[in-house]
C-alpha cells in the first residue's frame, strides 16, 4: 500500500505500510520538506517482553527452549546467548573442546540457513530488478535452486546437532542432551563440500551486482576473540575503541523507548548510533576469517572494512564460505565428547551472554535464585540495536535519491532496510513500514 503523493507541493510523504521480504511486517515513514528530510521512522510494534515475562519464575534450564521460540529464523542464536548467560551466572565457561565445537557447528548451520535465505531469496531480487523471489525464480531458477541447496545443507547441520531443523531441542545449559556420533557428522561432509563450492560461487556472483555508491558511518560493534571469527563468544568490541566483557553491556549501551515504536532503540551511551551484524563482524574480524573466506573476500574486492550496506550481500556470502568451511573443519576433526554436557549447579547470581545471530549481536541477561529460578530476564535483539542505524541509512538514501521517480525511491528505501536483514519477528511480529512524501 502506498500513500505517495499526499499533501502539497512542498512537503511529501513516502510510506509503505507493508514491507515485503523482511522477517516480519514492517512500516516505514519518511517525511520531506522540499529537499530536506524532516522525519524518518522505522516502526516496530512489539518487543520480546512477552518472553521476558514468560521466563520469570521458570527454571534456568528452561531458558534455551523458551527463548528459541522467539524467532523461527534464528532459534540457535537465542539458545546460545541464553546458555552462555546461565553458565556465566553459575560460574561455568565452555570456551574450548568438543562441546564448544559442537555449539559453533550448530551455529554455523543457522548462519548457513539464515544467510542463504536472505542472500538468494530476499536480497537478490533487489539487485536483479524483481519484485520478489517468485518473479525472480521464473527467469533465474538456478539462483533459487542454489539457495535451496545451501539451505538444505544448513538444515542438515541443524538436524544432526540440534535434533531437528526448526527450533532445535538438543541444546541444554552445560552442553547438549546427546552428542552426535562421529559417523552422523561425517555424513554431512559431502553436502557441505558442495555447499562450500556454491558459497564460493555466490561470493563471485554477488561481487558483480550493481551497488549504489553509499558509505555509512555508524560505530561498528561485534564480538571479538583472538583466533576465531565471532560467532558464539568473545568480548564486545567496536571500531571506536570499545572493548568490554558482555557483563558490562548495560554500562555502555542504553535502550530507549521512542514514540513511534514499541521496540526499544539501543544506542551507545554518549556515542549514539551503532551497527551490529555482518558489516561489523567483517570490519572487526576479517583477519580471523579462514583462508578460503579471506581469499574469496579479497577476490570480490572487499577491503578490510566495508561500509556500504548494499554490499552486505557480498559480506553475507563471504560468511557463508566461512560457515561452510568451519563446519567442515569441525566435522573432520570431531571426537565425540565423553559426556554431552558438563554439570551446571545453580546459585544466586546474574549472568550475561552475548553471541552473534546472523543479523547481529544478541544479548541476554538473567538473574537467577539459588535454586535456579529465573527472577529477571532481559533480551536485546540485534534488530532493535540496529534500528537507529537503519533509520539513518533511510535518511541518507532519501537525501541522495530525491530526483528518483517515486516508485524507485520507495524501492531504494525498502532495500536500505532489507540490507540489514532485520529480523523483525525477534523485535516484533507484525511490523509496518511507512515512507512518506507529504
Amino acid at each position: 500500500m502506498s500513500g505517495a503523493g499526499e499533501g502539497g507541493e512542498r512537503t511529501r510523504v513516502i510510506r509503505t505500510d507493508y514491507l515485503a521480504r523482511v522477517e516480519g511486517e514492517g512500516a516505514m515513514y519518511v517525511k520531506l520538506d522540499g529537499r530536506e528530510v524532516t522525519d524518518v521512522k522505522l516502526r516496530i510494534y512489539e518487543p520480546p517482553r512477552f518472553f521476558e515475562a514468560l521466563l520469570r519464575g521458570r527454571a534456568f534450564t528452561e531458558a534455551p527452549d523458551i527463548t528459541a521460540r522467539i524467532c523461527g529464523i534464528c532459534p540457535v542464536a537465542y539458545q546460545m546467548s541464553s546458555v552462555r548467560a546461565m553458565e556465566d551466572a553459575c560460574g561455568v565457561a565452555i570456551d574450548s573442546g568438543p562441546l564448544r565445537d559442537l555449539r559453533r557447528l550448530l551455529y554455523c548451520g543457522e548462519w548457513i540457513e539464515s544467510h542463504s535465505l536472505h542472500v538468494y531469496m530476499l536480497h537478490a531480487p533487489d539487485f536483479l530488478g524483481y519484485a520478489g523471489a517468485v518473479e525472480m525464480a521464473r527467469d533465474h531458477r538456478e539462483i533459487v535452486e542454489q539457495g535451496l541447496q545451501m539451505k538444505k545443507a544448513g538444515n542438515a547441520l541443524m538436524a544432526a546437532v540440534g535434533g531437528r531443523e526448526v527450533h532445535p531441542i538438543n541444546v541444554r545449559v552445560g552442553g547438549f542432551y546427546r552428542a552426535p556420533a562421529p559417523g552422523e557428522l561425517r555424513a554431512l561432509h559431502d553436502p557441505l563440500e558442495r555447499a562450500l563450492e556454491t558459497a564460493l560461487a555466490t561470493v563471485r556472483w554477488t561481487a558483480t551486482l550493481p551497488f549504489p555508491d553509499v558509505e555509512r558511518a555508524p560505530e561498528l560493534v561485534a564480538l571479538s576473540e583472538p583466533g576465531a571469527y565471532p560467532i558464539d563468544r568473545g568480548a564486545i568490541r567496536s571500531d571506536g575503541g570499545l572493548e568490554i566483557p558482555p557483563a558490562a553491556f548495560d554500562e555502555h549501551f542504553v535502550e530507549e523507548h521512542v514514540e513511534h515504536s514499541n521496540a526499544l532503540h539501543a544506542r551507545l551511551r554518549e556515542r549514539g548510533t551503532y551497527l551490529t551484524g555482518p558489516l561489523a563482524r567483517y570490519a572487526l574480524a576479517s583477519q580471523e576469517l579462514r583462508p578460503l573466506a579471506a581469499e574469496a573476500a579479497l577476490a570480490a574486492g572487499l577491503g578490510a572494512v566495508c561500509r556500504n550496506p548494499f554490499q552486505s550481500i557480498v559480506v553475507r556470502a563471504v560468511e557463508l564460505v566461512q560457515a561452510c568451511d568451519e563446519a567442515l573443519a569441525i566435522i573432520d576433526s570431531y571426537e565425540q565428547p565423553e559426556a554431552p554436557a558438563v554439570e551446571v549447579i545453580p546459585r544466586r547470581a546474574v549472568g550475561h551472554g552475548a553471541t552473534e545471530a546472523p543479523r547481529g549481536l544478541l544479548y541476554h541477561r538473567y538473574e537467577i535464585d539459588e535454586d535456579g529460578t529465573i527472577l529477571d530476564a532481559r533480551i536485546v535483539p540485534p534488530t532493535s540495536q540496529n534500528q537507529l542505524a537503519i533509520e539513518q541509512d533511510l535518511r541518507t538514501v532519501v537525501e541522495g535519491g530525491l530526483d528518483l521517480p517515486e516508485d524507485q525511491l520507495k524501492l531504494r528505501c525498502e532495500q536500505a532496510i532489507r540490507n540489514h536483514d532485520p529480523c523483525i519477528s525477534c523485535a516484533t511480529h507484525f511490523l509496518t513500514l511507512t515512507l512518506d512524501r507529504g
Binding site: 521480504r21 523482511v22 522477517e23 516480519g24 511486517e25 512489539e46 512477552f50 518472553f51 521460540r69 523461527g72 529464523i73 532459534p75 535465505l117 536472505h118 531469496m121 530476499l122 520478489g132 523471489a133 517468485v134 525464480a137 521464473r138 531458477r141 533459487v144 535452486e145 535451496l148 539451505k151 538444505k152 538444515n155 538436524a159 531437528r164 531443523e165 526448526v166 527450533h167 519477528s425 511480529h429 507484525f430
Partner: protein
C-alpha cells in the same frame, strides 16, 4: 498410537514427507490463533498410518515446505489466516493451479517467505506437489501468547475431521 512394524514400511526419511499424501499444519504456537494449524496437525498424529498420510508441523518460515513436501504427490495445508471474515470462518482453497488470494494473509505471510510465496516459488521451479489444498481458518488474535481463541477452537474439531477425510480421499 498404533505403531506400524518398521520392517514392513518402505525405507523412508520421516523428515521428508514420506507418504504420498501429507497433512501440513503451519504456524506459530506462541502467537495464539497462529497455532491453529499446528494444533490441528498434532491432533491427527497417531490417528493416521504414517505410511499412508504424513503429518507435518511446520514452524518458522515457509520455504522449508519445499523440502518437506518433496516426496508428496498431494498436500493438505492448514494455516491460520486473516482476511477480515469472522473468526472461525474456514476458507477452502485449491492452490493446485492458482495462487492463494493475495488478500488472504496467512499467518506465515508476515514472514520473509510466506505460504503463498512458498507455493508460488515451488510452482515456478517445478517443485509443487500435484495437488495442493489449503484450509485457512480465520483467526482472531495473533499477538504473543499461547492458546486459541474461542471461535477458532470451536471449529477445530470438525475441521480436523474434514482435513482427515480430504487427505484420505487423496491417498485412495
Amino acid at each position: 498410537m498404533a505403531e506400524a512394524d518398521p520392517a514392513s514400511l518402505p525405507a523412508r526419511d520421516a523428515a521428508n514427507a514420506p507418504a504420498r499424501v501429507a497433512v501440513i499444519g503451519v504456524g506459530n504456537s506462541l502467537r495464539h490463533d497462529d497455532g491453529a494449524g499446528l494444533e490441528l496437525a498434532g491432533s491427527l498424529r497417531g490417528r493416521v498410518d504414517p505410511a499412508e498420510i504424513a503429518v507435518i508441523e511446520q514452524e518458522g518460515e515457509a520455504l522449508g515446505l519445499l523440502e518437506r513436501w518433496r516426496d508428496a504427490a498431494a498436500v493438505v495445508i492448514v494455516d491460520a489466516v486473516r482476511s477480515g471474515a469472522p473468526a472461525g470462518t474456514v476458507h477452502r482453497i485449491d492452490a493446485t493451479r492458482q495462487p492463494l488470494p493475495a488478500d488472504l494473509h496467512s499467518s506465515t505471510s508476515t514472514h520473509a517467505v510466506g505460504l503463498r510465496e512458498a507455493i508460488e516459488l515451488a510452482r515456478a521451479i517445478g517443485r509443487l506437489p500435484a495437488r495442493v489444498l489449503v484450509f485457512g481458518v480465520e483467526g482472531e488474535r495473533f499477538d504473543a501468547g499461547s492458546g486459541l481463541s474461542d471461535p477458532v477452537r470451536a471449529v477445530l474439531g470438525a475441521l480436523a475431521e474434514e482435513v482427515l477425510q480430504t487427505a484420505r480421499g487423496l491417498s485412495a
